[in-house]
């Protein structure tokens, strides 16, 4: 068993991939509980899709996707935040417009600029292609996301739970709003090589949703979400290695399997407690 687990470590590219998978899984699932409880899944999906034109221009100018991470994330977060705040068409509608138009713009730019990117890798991830510089960048982004989340945890929680109460208390709610959007955007852009534009949402949402089903409090749900997220990404990578499957979809499907087990476990516990009440 140990030999099987250690087998991928014979290859440098697999060590790099495992570290990147762990960092992406942890980063996304750390922010997942905030995202699902604030009903921001659609916003996160729009952020992922809005990266395409930035990637097209960035790659055209000679940058790698990882190098584009932080500036792209800040640009997307501020732009999305401003558009949603200043349009009166409704948040969902504004996100929908940005989502589709940016994705379309990305494809047009890739074609116009003759950018050589593998679209399948961009959409579904290609973790095996990460180089050592990508690993450093993704791990740095993970440390940044953890540090900022820990420092601002109480303020972010207050703002997410009761934005008006937080503002009355004197918290800078505009700062907290953009801070969370930037963190989310960093986690998404930093994970694009791991799971791709389309599947990044699964690693953000599914571990957090599964954790919510099996925990009672928000703080514990964050820890369990990170556990589920990292298990999903590492196990998915192992499956991809041994069964020759695409890595991004494998991670996503492991996360879904964990969610199904969490869902069934909750149903069984509920049935059990109902039966206890009926008998007593």
């Amino acid at each position: 068993m140990i030999e099987i687990l250690l087998d991928p470590f014979r290859y440098d590219f697999m060590i790099r991939s495992l570290i990147t998978a762990f960092a992406s899984g942890a980063m996304l699932s750390l922010l997942g509980p905030f995202t699902i409880n604030r009903n921001m899944g659609f916003m996160a999906d729009a952020m992922a899709h809005a990266t395409l034109p930035i990637i097209a221009v960035g790659v055209f100018l000679g940058f790698s996707i990882s190098e584009l991470g932080v500036p792209a994330a800040i640009l997307i977060a501020i732009f999305l935040g401003l558009i949603i705040k200043n349009t009166n068409v409704g948040e969902d509608t504004a996100i929908g417009i940005i989502f589709s138009s940016f994705f379309a713009l990305g494809f047009v730019l890739i074609s116009l600029l003759n950018v050589t990117v593998n679209l399948e890798d961009l959409l579904f991830g290609q973790i095996l292609a990460v180089n050592i510089s990508d690993v450093y960048i993704v791990v740095s982004l993970l440390i940044l996301v953890i540090l900022v989340t820990v420092i601002y945890f109480k303020q972010l929680l207050f703002y997410s739970f009761d934005p008006i109460g937080a503002e009355v208390k004197g918290l800078n709610t505009t700062f907290l709003n953009y801070l969370f959007l930037i963190l989310l955007s960093i986690a998404i852009v930093g994970s694009l090589q791991t799971v791709g534009i389309i599947l990044v949402l699964s690693m953000l949402i599914i571990p957090a949703a599964a954790a919510k089903l099996v925990t009672e409090t928000f703080t514990v749900s964050i820890g369990v979400s990170v556990l589920f997220g990292t298990i999903s990404s590492i196990t998915g990578l192992y499956l991809s290695y041994f069964l020759n499957l695409p890595s991004g979809p494998s991670m996503s499907l492991v996360a879904t399997t964990i969610f199904v087990f969490a869902f069934l476990s909750k149903k069984i516990r509920e049935k059990g407690s109902l039966a206890t009440v009926t008998v007593s």
Binding site: K154, D162, E167, N172
Partner: protein, 263 residues
């Protein structure tokens, strides 16, 4: 009540002088005048869209005035944010978050500075004291998902108490809770008021206000009346607020009351 208490009770704490708020071209508050003394318990009544929540938002420093002035101890609300604590309408809170009662109350002690050095023991003491005051200390580690509507309201009041501010604003504190829970909340508010805090409560219930409150502020975009509920809640004022729905006021004594409005 000793002399000192009488003096503090007669000091104007909140003064609204021609306070106006417009959202674009739509007026939400028009030339509202009133003056609330320290330690008063004030009901703010009026129809939906009458400006109750807007006034609370102004008092909380969330919305700027279009015209006029509103001061708390002579300063604008945005300058004295620590003096006001706000219990918003329950539907403005994101109940998706599975928080513990302790976490919600601790929000009242959260500051802008993440690096502020608070003694953990001091924070815990304040949380426990606030929960003791609202009678929910035994629920401190429970999830808010398992609380009733009345208990949730009390947790939010505990959060406001933990802030230790002078003015407490409760927006629709009695909505979506049963009559028993309403009585409990009113009892709790009476106890808080005894500590000298000034309390403003937006409510839809205009009955028996004279038994529960020192003063009533009647709003329908403008100030229809302000003063002692027994004197100002006349059929004319009720009609000015709600139209010809005098049956809203069950206490027939009011219909014989010829007291005039203080508007």
């Amino acid at each position: 009540m000793d002399t000192k208490e009488v003096n503090s009770a007669s000091t104007p704490l909140i003064i609204s002088d021609g306070c106006c708020v417009h959202f674009g071209n739509i007026p939400a508050l028009e030339s509202v005048n009133f003056s609330i003394n320290k330690g008063k318990k004030v009901a703010v009544v009026g129809p939906n869209g009458g400006g109750k929540s807007t006034l609370f938002n102004v008092l909380a420093g969330l919305i700027p005035l279009t015209e006029g002035s509103l001061t708390i101890e002579g300063k604008s609300p945005s300058e004295v944010k620590g003096k006001v604590s706000y219990v918003p309408q329950k539907d403005l809170i994101n109940w998706n978050f599975p928080l513990s009662v302790k976490q919600v109350v601790e929000m009242g002690l959260t500051t802008r500075n993440s690096f502020a050095l608070f003694s953990r023991n001091k924070v815990n003491e304040k949380i426990k004291k606030a929960l003791e005051d609202v009678g929910l200390l035994e629920k401190i580690n429970k999830s808010i998902k398992n609380l009733s509507g009345g208990q949730l309201q009390r947790v939010l009041i505990a959060r406001a108490l933990a802030q230790d501010s002078e003015i407490l604003l409760l927006d629709e504190a009695f909505s979506a809770v049963d009559i028993g829970a309403q009585e409990d909340i009113m009892q709790l508010i009476d106890n808080i008021n005894l500590d000298g805090k000034t309390i403003l409560i937006a409510t839809h219930d205009v009955n028996n206000l004279e038994e529960k409150f020192d003063e009533v502020l009647c709003l329908n975009k403008h100030c229809c009346a302000y003063g002692d509920p027994a004197e100002v809640l006349t059929p004319e004022v009720i009609e000015e607020m709600y139209g010809s729905h005098n049956s809203l006021l069950n206490n027939k004594a009011h219909f014989n009351n010829e007291g005039s409005s203080n508007d």
